[in-house]
Assembly symmetry: C2
Homo-oligomer: 232 residues x 2
Amino acid sequence: MNAPSATSPRRAIVLLSGGLDSATCLAIARDAGFDCYCLSLDYGQRHRVELEAAGRVAMALGAREHRVVRLDLAAFGGSALTDRNIDVPTAGADDGIPVTYVPARNTIMLSLALAWAEVLESRDIFVGVNAVDYSGYPDCRPEFVAAFERLANLATKAGVEGNRMTIHAPLIDLTKAEIIRQGSALGVDYGITVSCYQADEHGQACGVCDSCRLRRDGFHAAGVTDPTHYAA
Amino acid sequence: MNAPSATSPRRAIVLLSGGLDSATCLAIARDAGFDCYCLSLDYGQRHRVELEAAGRVAMALGAREHRVVRLDLAAFGGSALTDRNIDVPTAGADDGIPVTYVPARNTIMLSLALAWAEVLESRDIFVGVNAVDYSGYPDCRPEFVAAFERLANLATKAGVEGNRMTIHAPLIDLTKAEIIRQGSALGVDYGITVSCYQADEHGQACGVCDSCRLRRDGFHAAGVTDPTHYAA
């Protein structure tokens, strides 16, 4: 972590989904002293209440700015999170890559963060990917993050000019319980976050999808009271 | 180049801007026997006639499909191609990175191509980047393309499952004249392409911007008649 000095805060781009992980990631970036510019992607996801949650989280955790970029990934289809003809699975994680995987989502989000970073002359991007509880997603692994950092340093003016870009993935090796404990210690109010893949329009979680299950188990394992209202 | 067999054409994603380079790139992909799915980005560029040109080129060169994805990069600002407060330079290439550089554009476009490739189960992406005449852009260099290919193989289901993704950049080492000669041999009608950074609404080229200058010089050096109507 390249912590900036207190007198001249450095800017960081923080990818924010409205879920538990990215909220914790923002709290960590703020705690490290960064001025945080949060970016959310409106990619035609089913769980649009996530975007409202992202706005609440950005404000609650003192982000400098929050931008939502619209991009219609649903046009490509292929995921239960964007394609209404594919059911969201509720039976627990299978082997292999789950159907909730959105093609190239983290690659796209990091690319957009990179564009904004160049404009803001930020050299730090935070992303809340996690390889422990989501190991089925290829773009949540440490080798993916390292490859993107390498790319970022070849793709950009900053990189070419020798101002090294860093992709921070502070949650990558943490269990859900460890993430929740760390965020709680930093004052994150998880009651305003939404993890559910199929939350209703008020943000109420279904309680049965993979994401709800991981979240519920995480609070239990962390010994932290779960503020989520589950339907089931 | 992994040429597919004639009996079962493989699918390729081809990034298409409507300019001379990407039209040539599509012709090369078709000539190699790929079924081509063309992707253009509507990123709030000034030269929107490019997108119409992309549609004409896709049809003329027998693409299977052409999709335009909207993404408002202008929201981030920072380039003369998207920001109307920055003048398009006309005095020839400076040293260093030109102001017409769009932050992370090729990274973003390749990421979107990757998403569509995953959905179509395509393992081949074609991009018309060129390191000779555009050496000021960091994301047009061979090391950038290689880094993206590496990332693509870590980021995707196909890569994880051992189906190697290839990023084809067949123009990367060619001069503009060589590109024009190759495209002409493959039957590309350059009269329907638009390269100009500030073409008018009929697609007429200004004749003075860097892109027009490179194009004009390229036809001259190739000994091929330039079909472009320049205003100046």
